[in-house]
Symmetry: C2
Subunit: 310 residues, 2 copies
Amino acid sequence: MNEFELIARLTRALPTNESVVVGAGDDCAVLDVGAGDRRLLFKTDAVVEGIHFTSETPPEKIGHKALARCLSDIAAMAGTPTAALITIGLPKNFDPKFVARIYAGLNELAERQGVAVVGGETTTNPERILISIALVGFVPRGRVLLRSGAKVGDAIFVTGELGGSLAGKHLEFEPRLSEARWLAENFAIHALMDLSDGLAGDLCHLLKASGVGAELLKTAIPISRAARLAAKSGDAAKPALVAALTDGEDFELLFTVASKDAVPLLDKWKQNFPKLKLSCIGKIIAGEGVRLRDKTGVQTLAVHGYVHFS
Amino acid sequence: MNEFELIARLTRALPTNESVVVGAGDDCAVLDVGAGDRRLLFKTDAVVEGIHFTSETPPEKIGHKALARCLSDIAAMAGTPTAALITIGLPKNFDPKFVARIYAGLNELAERQGVAVVGGETTTNPERILISIALVGFVPRGRVLLRSGAKVGDAIFVTGELGGSLAGKHLEFEPRLSEARWLAENFAIHALMDLSDGLAGDLCHLLKASGVGAELLKTAIPISRAARLAAKSGDAAKPALVAALTDGEDFELLFTVASKDAVPLLDKWKQNFPKLKLSCIGKIIAGEGVRLRDKTGVQTLAVHGYVHFS
């Protein structure tokens, strides 16, 4: 049983109440808390030493990554983050200076994104550092963007370049908060999520939630320089395209819009975010699963996204 | 450096914004989110295998305890919990049935308290299970009860009986949510918190936050049957009074009210909560620290509450 199967099993019948607009299964939970025309977003995410960072990772980057991952989920709802709580599990012989540097990296990102850090809990986790972040944020009532809104004929977009994040980007990425809000404010985005487990796997989640399939154009998938370098380096390397499809921790945005909006969106994007690439990588089709098209024809995508516990 | 010193250091200069009413340092963070005359409460808490439960603990009780601890912090603000997110770190060879039973215990308590469980995140924590709970809840705007409101002359109360929680209560306690709300609705409570680290230590936090001291009446401190039994059992036992003062995980309420309200409060309490003991254990005095009075006179309390990392 992998992470997704376990979560599917556990979230089949969860306690609910009248505040719940969106429960488990999307990037954030969405709650109606009577806050005027705003919905509350609620999300947690954890990073663990030896899994998401190593004992060699500069502590400021550990703190940055811990918060940035969780902020990326707020971006995936086109929301604005408000406040964060930090739970940190520490070995008994922890170095207070190291922990202070984790907080320094985290606080710097929080300041820049206007997020208040409203509490810090510590506990003992004897073998390794574990940081769990809880976030609340808001999104306008009529502008909640879910994974489930993709429609047949939609154009599929991704921001940035994909693959090879573990070479460095996963510790330094800036969550796409302003880009996501801009998209939601300026276009009728149908479905939105962030890429954390690899394009192939994450797109499958979006397709399943929307009850549709996708056809991607092989040459349109934006491959990162890191993925290209790794592919050339030889040892145990996978082709750069496979890396772009399956490597985790891209933390870019994946979204769909009606095909008629695709060109205006690309044009306006270039004016507003000239430094950040935006790629139309394919279209939503009837059916299920992902097909990959190149000059020679169409094949069904067999490669899987990164799956925890596998 | 212990847990409290570390937190004090880390929370000296945290990023903030205009939503923050109460940041780090009280039982919950309090946010103004424009939700009419209600304030948002926000809290996280974690339990770790080998620290807060053992590999022998029935999994339903692990789930119950994980959520109950966090709910106790909402009770400590006289709030009403709304929704929870569950982050669970699991060894690679985890048993899905065991995890499902953790959720069953947690969900049962959530249902009973009207809390929606709106998401479950899993991650790998190779050596031991770790569960981090994030909670949001609400409290009426004018009724936020902090640790810092105690005034000289106040009567000091605790619910229930103290000490010996590790004999079983820590896995089964019901958070004092309805009792705390009833107190806030019916009396001008000055300061309120929950007991998690032991009466002596937790009272010191309340006194420090309020800038006052306390004199406790030795014979008034309610000692649990578990603490009395442990004291009699001989091996490595501490006197029952010391257990009641210093054992952690009581999860009872500690609060202060003006002395004129003490007798009416006790009377009305007995009518409303006939099964739950309420004890007036002393009074708030000028100065600092805790003094303990008995027939022979007054001594300064030297015993310390349970301190993590010590």
